[in-house]
Structure formats: C-alpha cells, structure tokens
C-alpha cells in the first residue's frame, strides 16, 4: 500500500539554521498521528512542506506517491494555526467556497456540525469570537472526505468544554482509509485519540512509534514523556 506521506532525508534550512535536519518518516492510512515538540522544533515547517507551502532544501517528499502539488491538495484537508478566511465572508460563503473548490466537501455534514455547535450559517466571520472562528474552520476541514487531515493546533483556541466535542468530531468524521496528523502542545487532551507519535526536537525526530508501545516501554503517559524529553 502506498504511504500517504513519505519524508526521506528532508532538510529545510533558513540561512544557517536548520528547521528540519535530515528527517525521515512515513504516515500510513487509517491512523492518527501526533506531531509533538516544543516551539521551534520544526513541526510547522514539516506541515508546510506536506501542504506545498514550503519547498525542502534537500530530500524527497511524497504525498500519496506524488510530489506535493495540485493532486496532493485534493486529498489533504489542512487546518493552519491561524484564521485563513477572509473576514468579509459569512459562514455560508465559506461553505460555498469549499464546495466550489473541493469535490470532497460534504455540505450536509458541515451544516450538521454547525447546528451542533450552535453557530449560525448567516453569521459574519468578523463578528465571531476567536474560538468560534476556529470551530468554523475545523468544521470546514472535517466536512471534507479527505485522505489526510493535517491539523495544526486544532484545540488551542477553544474552551475545554468544546475540546471534547472537537476531538469527537475529528474521530467521527474521518474514514478508515484516512489519516490525521495533529500538531499540538495540549497532549493530555489528545493523547487518548493518538495511534502514533513523532517527537521533534531541533529539527530532528527524537522519538517515533506507536503510543501503546511507547507507554509500555517508558512506563509513562505520552504527556509525561513529553515533559521529560523536552524539559527546559
């Protein structure tokens, strides 16, 4: 089976600084991956390279067997860690935009999630709070029937009560053939949903494997291990 994402000896250099240093990993279909690491560890760089927002300095990146480009963008649903919607839009305009550009966008699924979160489809984006805006973006992303969901800090801006709903939304909206790559600092909240983790430090992968194996091997939760590995 073709790997969804394949990084082979990928390096990304900004001047003298290496944001990613000879990184190799593979993401398989049907799993939830946690991309964990402190600030500046290279998580966002890796995510941007997967999404064709950055070019690696060296190494090979393949998404579903192809170089990142138009075809890979059709199968990746990407949630960045910022508001990327134009604030003149209403929620329904954003839905229309996704419907126009992504064949796999499921409008009814999006509307259902919107109702569950009590957000009006006629609401203007600029009138929404930061947390609600993040929920709208998450709805847009998860309403796609994508092969790979790349979520950069999906729960950072929402209240704890909404986190469970969002995690539940993520879990219930991805199919068996799909994978999710979540980058976050809030490990306690997402640990229970992760199948595998990649620990990044100074642009290098320092730990990689199945969550259950890592827990058994180190006798600690992923959160506990994260605090130990990345202690300041």
């Amino acid at each position: 089976m073709t790997a969804l994402v394949q990084f082979e000896n990928v390096t990304k250099q900004y001047g003298d600084k290496k944001a990613l240093d000879n990184v190799s990993f593979t993401l398989e279909p049907g799993k939830i991956y946690g991309l964990l690491g402190p600030n500046g560890s290279g998580k966002s760089t890796a995510i941007k390279i997967i999404n064709d927002l950055l070019q690696p300095t060296s190494g090979t990146v393949l998404v579903n067997g192809l170089k990142p480009g138009v075809e890979s963008k059709k199968i990746i649903s990407y949630l960045p860690d910022r508001n990327y919607l134009n604030d003149w839009m209403k929620v329904e305009d954003a839905f229309k935009l996704f419907e126009d550009f992504y064949e796999d966008f499921d409008r009814s699924r999006a509307e259902e999630m919107l109702r569950s979160l009590n957000i009006s489809s006629g609401a203007r984006l600029k009138t929404l709070s930061k947390g609600t805006l993040e929920k709208v973006q998450l709805i847009l992303i998860m309403a796609r029937r994508a092969k790979l969901y790349v979520l950069d800090e999906p729960i950072a801006g929402v209240d704890p009560a909404a986190r469970d709903y969002i995690l539940q939304t993520i879990l219930s909206n991805y199919g068996e053939e799909s994978s999710i790559l979540i980058s976050t600092h809030l490990i306690t909240d997402i640990e229970k949903v992760l199948d595998e983790v990649l620990f990044l430090q100074n642009g290098r992968i320092v730990l990689q494997g199945a969550v259950d194996d890592i827990r058994a091997e180190h006798g600690k939760s992923i959160d506990g291990l994260f605090r130990e590995v990345f202690r300041c």
Binding site: N51, Q55, V70, E71
Partner: protein, 277 residues
C-alpha cells in the same frame, strides 16, 4: 478553476470599489444638474442677482472639487486594492487557504492579475463616464444653439484622423497598466523572500522603483539601438510621421509585453520555490 478564483477575487474587491464607483457617478450627476442650473440661471439673467450668482459659484466649485477628489480616490483606492488583495490573500494569513486550494500557481496569479486589470478598466470607465455626465449638462442646456450637422461632420473628421493613434495609444496604455500591475506583484514577491522578509513593505517599495528604473534603462538602450539601426534612410528624408509613430509605439507595446512575461514568470517562480508564509 480560474473562473472560480476570479469570481472570489472580484467579490472581495467589489466591497471596497463598487460603493466608491457608485458614489463618484452620483456626485458627477449632482455636478451635472448643478451646472445645468448654473447655465440656465446665467442665460435667464437671474444670476445677475448677486446672491444667487455667489451661491451657484460656490456650490459648483465645491461639487467639482468633490468630484475631482473622488477621481483621485478612485485611482488611489484601485491601486491600493490591487496591492492589498495580492498582499493579504497570497502573502498574508489568507495565503494558507489560497495556496492549499487545488489550483495551479498560474491560475492563482492569473486570477489576481485579471481581477486587477478588470477593476482598473472599470475605474477608468467610471471616471470617463462621470466626465461625460458632467459635460452632458452643458450640451443639453445649449442644445438649441448647437449645429448638430456641423458638429457631427467635425467629429467624423476627428474620428477618422485620430482613431488609429487613439487605438494604438489605448493599447499601449493597457500594456503599460498590465506591466505595472505585474511589476508590483514581482516586487511584493521578492520582498517576502527570506532575506528581505523583515522589511517587506519598504523592500517592496524600493524594489518596485528599482525594477521600474531598470526596465526603463533597458528600454532606453533598446530604443537608441532601434533608432540607430532600424530606421531606414528613406524615413529620415520622407519624415513620415505615422510610420514613425507606428514603429515607436509598436516597439513600446512589444517591450511592455516582454515586461509582462518576465514579471509574470518571475512572480510565479517565486511563488513556487521561495514562498515564505
């Protein structure tokens, strides 16, 4: 996909520009009515009443000032919108959405470029239409004094003699506009690269003037060469103005087209290889 991108591009800019264009047309209409009243008052002798004359004069002055202010606003705001749309939607946070849509970089850039061209043409048309509306009042009021047959004859001669240079000049203006827009895009894209990223705005402004100067210098060198090599001896003797005009303008349009290609390809390459969101 290009049509869809263009639709969203036009919608996003329309919010700023359409109200401005409508406002300008309304002010032009008010100016026109005011001018018609002014002319009518003058002809009836009513304006000789000093108070009415002064009020008319002041009002007409204010309206014309307002109208020309709006024309300046159209020009400035259209330019600002073109720059802002490119900057915000591709280099700003919105870029995270635009560059992850399943479209090519050529389609993305073309949608911005075509959108900018359309708004520039609409803006110019609105200013032209506004001037026509203002002029119309004078024509309507003085209609009975105009010899329409003579006017039409004069216009026919003007159109016959001027249509060719007007079309060529129009084409050159359009090519210059297109090259100008793409030069702005190229400057912004170079300014967002890693080394200049910390001073994006200043770098983009300096780059724009620098590149403009560079293209100007190349154009001058080429023109001197064409002047020395390409002009046949017969021309210098015959002094055929139209021939010279066509040749000069043809070269200038071709140069603008080459500028467009260079700027478009350069911007696209930077988008693909040096994007730094």
């Amino acid at each position: 996909m290009l049509a869809k991108l263009l639709k969203y591009e036009m919608k996003a800019s329309a919010r700023t520009l359409v109200p401005l264009y409508i406002g300008t047309l309304i002010v032009a209409l008010v100016c026109s009515v005011q001018m018609a009243l002014f002319i009518a008052d003058n002809r009836s002798g009513f304006a000789m009443t000093i108070g009415v004359f002064q009020v008319n004069n002041t009002l007409t002055g204010i309206l014309f000032l307002l109208f020309f202010g709006l024309c300046v606003a159209i020009t400035v705001l259209t330019i600002m919108t073109v720059i802002q749309r490119f900057n915000h939607s591709l280099i700003g946070d919105e870029g995270y959405l635009m560059f992850t849509l399943p479209v090519t970089h050529t389609q993305l850039l073309s949608s911005k470029f075509i959108g900018a061209l359309i708004w520039s043409v609409i803006g110019s048309f609105v200013m032209f239409l506004s001037l026509m509306i203002i002029s119309a009042s004078g024509v309507m009021i003085g209609a009975d004094a105009i010899n329409w047959g003579e006017l039409w004859n004069q216009l026919r001669y003007i159109i016959r003699d001027a249509i060719h240079p007007m079309l060529v000049s129009g084409l050159y203006a359009f090519a210059s506009l297109a090259a100008g827009i793409l030069l702005v895009y190229l400057s912004i894209m170079i300014a967002q690269t890693e080394k200049l990223n910390n001073h994006r705005v200043a770098a983009a402004v300096i780059l724009f003037f620098l590149l403009n100067w560079l293209f100007g210098a190349v154009e001058s060198i080429l023109f001197v060469s064409v002047g020395n090599i390409g002009v046949p001896d017969g021309f210098r003797i015959s002094n055929d103005f139209m021939w010279a005009y066509n040749m000069v303008m043809g070269c200038r349009i071709a140069f603008e087209a080459v500028k467009c290609v260079i700027c478009f390809m350069g911007t696209k390459w930077l988008m693909q290889k040096k994007l730094n969101l």
